[in-house]
């Protein structure tokens, strides 16, 4: 695909250098993957990750007529023991990022370094070891559990693929331990998914994610299919498990209040690009990108009085098609600040010039030419 080359490669100039590991043999690679990472060190480093899905025409002689640019050059770090929240509207590419990190999809370009090794290039035993350490919890607990398998089989299935984690005789006991950890009765091991409620099913999904003692869990909208009163239970459980097992979460959701509650850092995505990234305080209290501000102001606040004092930014129109994104800044078609510069020049994800060197929470990475602080969460 030729048009990738036209994109500026270094879209995020100020991410840290990756300390890569050059493994001569597969055994060395596996050893590096199994090595522990201390708290606060980067465990997963994503650099200029790109995923384009080809659009083809014709039946017999397929020719490519374009590409859906689902993920178009994003970079971020995930540190050991932290929760990185990714928010964005549907179609912005957040679930594709999850799939790329799981190596369920092959990246078109870019690298994903797990402990210094590019997992997009790994294969064989080394890839298997990576996959053991990165697990996923899916959105819909109704379709992500096989209705014909018992809970014990579902949670124990990872051990079939990675038998070194638990010898055959121990598996049943391990599964029962896991059920206990996620707050389900260990005696339920022989039940089927339909005998559980949505919240309980999501606990089963989490138990399956935990089975192989992973270091990273990627949660793709883990609570959005659940009832409000049950969401809080699952969120609390996830917080507890993180402390207990020193997990790193990549928490993908569209519910901004839940993301804020659980995340240490938050990244805001728009049309395959990262619009703004920073700590939860920087993003929620001092957003500088207009899209983040609009997103935050659109969240319905369950308090009529706080709402009345708030300025609401209502964006016009829909998200443009990722097959044909706008030139320059992707958000410019819906942005109220857009000027000519926005159509021609793509803003880089960096600390904006005006905030550089300032000791202010507004000094975080934001991909906007006219980044400006605006408090949209609190009443005026």
């Amino acid at each position: 695909m030729a048009d990738i080359d036209k994109e500026p490669v270094d879209a995020t100039p100020n991410v840290t250098e990756v300390a890569t590991v050059d493994a001569a043999s597969e055994a060395e690679a596996v050893a590096a993957i199994d090595a522990p990472v201390s708290q606060g060190e980067p465990i997963l480093q994503v650099r200029n990750l790109v995923k384009h899905f080809p659009l083809t025409q014709g039946v017999l002689f397929k020719k490519q007529v374009g590409a859906v640019k689902a993920v178009d050059g994003i970079s971020f770090d995930l540190f050991a023991g932290e929760t990185l929240g990714i928010v964005g509207e549907s179609g912005c590419g957040k679930s594709t990022v999850a799939k790329l990190l799981m190596t369920l999809e092959r990246a078109t370009a870019g690298e994903v370094f797990y402990k210094g090794q590019d997992i997009t290039r790994l294969s064989g035993r080394a890839l298997k070891a990576v996959r053991r350490n990165i697990q996923m919890v899916f959105q819909d607990p109704y379709t992500s559990l096989n209705p014909r398998m018992t809970v014990g089989d579902i949670i124990g299935e990872p051990y079939e693929i990675h038998p070194e984690v638990a010898p055959k005789g121990e598996r049943r006991r391990k599964v029962q331990d896991l059920l206990d950890v996620v707050g389900l009765n260990p005696e339920y091991i022989n039940r089927y998914p339909h005998q559980f409620s949505g919240g309980q099913r999501q606990r089963i999904g989490i138990a399956r994610g935990l089975a192989l003692n992973p270091e990273i869990i990627i949660c793709d909208e883990p609570v959005s299919a659940l009832d409000v009163s049950v969401q809080a239970q699952v969120i609390n459980l996830m917080g507890k498990l993180q402390d207990e097992f020193n997990l790193s979460y990549l928490f993908i959701a569209h519910d901004l209040s839940i993301v804020r509650h659980i995340s240490d850092r938050v990244g805001v995505m728009y049309l395959g690009k990262m619009a703004e990234i920073g700590t939860d305080e920087q993003i929620y209290e001092h957003p500088t990108h207009p899209y983040t501000q609009a997103l935050l102001s659109a969240v319905p606040v369950p308090d009529p009085e706080a709402r009345e004092g708030r300025e609401r930014i209502i964006l016009s129109g829909d998200v443009p098609s990722p097959a044909n994104p706008p030139s320059g800044c992707r958000f410019r078609t819906r942005c109220w600040k857009a000027e000519d510069k926005c159509a021609t020049e793509m803003p880089l994800l960096a600390v904006p010039e005006r905030f550089k060197g300032l000791d202010s929470p507004a000094a975080h990475e934001s991909a906007c030419h006219f980044a400006e602080e605006k408090d949209v969460v609190h009443a005026a």
């Binding site: 409620s197 049950v230 239970q233 969120i235 609390n236 659109a298 369950p302 998200v319 609190h378």
Partner: protein, 352 residues
């Protein structure tokens, strides 16, 4: 049981009939479903009323009976397995449950319209949106295809679909989620009904689009002075648009209130728990308050108050006596207009 009193000043009905009183009044409605495993009591004595120009939000989790009540009002309940053993639904003073099939059919769509949650599955994928919008005019008003198409374009303009004339012959899949929901709204508006029932109209949408759609709905409601029943589980959406709220749990209304009051001082432990369990953008806590346990199985609703197994305040009386929806008063006994709570201990809940 009390019905919800109106709180906001409401302009008079726009059509010229002389009926006084609420536009829609549901009285002691029961709905049950006969299944192989037994009788599921989905709705157990619901009372509510809506006036013209007013928005009633019905709030509840899945299985609380909020959608079933709406389907009974609309007359689109699957019967069997559904059954309405008792209750009355008055529309402009007439009990719709006693009407003939033809009479009900003339009300449905023309007087009461419904907006469904999932626009993609509620629109027919093999017919153009223009055809589907025009169907309302062809069937109810006997217009020709050409006239109906012109009307459909007008409707699409009204719900702010850009380039309506060009898009009228597009199919549902060619529209985005927000646009599809606009088409659903246009369809509900087509015959200028007196009452719109919106069942989770924005649940499938993104927040930025949700704000657009809710704004549009509120604007059109003002313009036509319609009554609106908004069914939702999202406490945030309710705060933005509703005039009054009815909270449902296991087929009963457990609390009613004007919108502002409920967030400040909930009078039912369930409402209180719900409000405390949502993380708020402007306050980050350590652990969320979680209502323990699960919503009840409708085949086997707990005795007494249905919420008692999950309630922090439950005592013996809660396990034996079903609490009626009582009016809620200030500490000194002054009436709080429009407020009611079905809890034995509402005083303790609201006044601490």
């Amino acid at each position: 049981m009390t019905t919800i009193d109106k709180t906001a000043e409401v302009p008079s009905a726009r059509s010229g009939d002389d009926h006084v009183g609420p536009l829609l009044e549901v009285r002691d409605l029961h709905v049950e479903f006969h299944t192989r495993d037994g009788v599921a009591k989905a709705v157990n004595g619901v009372n509510y009323s809506v006036n013209a120009g007013e928005t009633l939000a019905v709030l509840g989790e899945s299985g609380s009976g909020k959608s079933v009540t709406a389907q009974a009002v609309m007359g689109i309940l699957d019967m069997p397995p559904g059954r309405i053993p008792q209750g009355e639904i008055f529309f402009r003073g007439q009990d719709m449950l006693k009407m003939s099939y033809e009479e009900r059919r003339s009300i449905r769509g023309q007087k009461i319209a419904m907006i469904f949650q999932d626009a993609l599955s509620s629109l027919n994928p093999v017919l153009t949106v223009g055809y589907q919008l025009g169907e309302m005019f062809r069937v109810h008003q006997g217009l020709s295809k050409k006239e109906a198409r012109a009307k459909a374009i007008g409707l699409m303009d009204q719900v702010k679909i850009p380039a309506a004339a060009a898009r009228v012959s597009d199919y549902p899949h060619q529209f985005s989620g927000g646009m599809r929901q606009r088409i659903m709204i246009a369809m509900a508006l087509a015959l200028e009904p007196d009452l719109i029932i919106a069942d989770e109209p924005t649940t499938a949408l993104d927040v930025t689009v949700q704000a657009q759609v809710m704004d549009l709905l509120a604007e059109l409601q003002r313009e036509y002075n319609m009554g609106l029943i908004l069914i939702t589980h999202d406490l945030g959406v309710v705060a933005d648009v509703a005039d009054k709220i009815a909270v449902m749990y296991a087929g009963r209304i457990v609390e009613t209130s004007p919108v502002h009051e409920i967030y400040k001082r909930p009078a039912h432990p369930y409402t209180k728990g719900l409000l405390e369990s949502i993380p708020r953008l402007d306050q980050k806590g350590q652990e969320l308050f979680a209502i323990k346990g699960l919503p009840p199985n409708l085949l086997n609703v707990p005795s007494g108050c249905a919420f008692n197994p999950r309630c922090v305040m439950a005592q013996d009386i809660c396990r034996t006596d079903i609490p009626p929806l009582r009016p809620v008063t200030e500490r000194d006994g002054t009436d709080l207009v429009g407020r009611g709570s079905a809890c034995h201990f509402w005083k303790e809940t609201i006044h601490g």
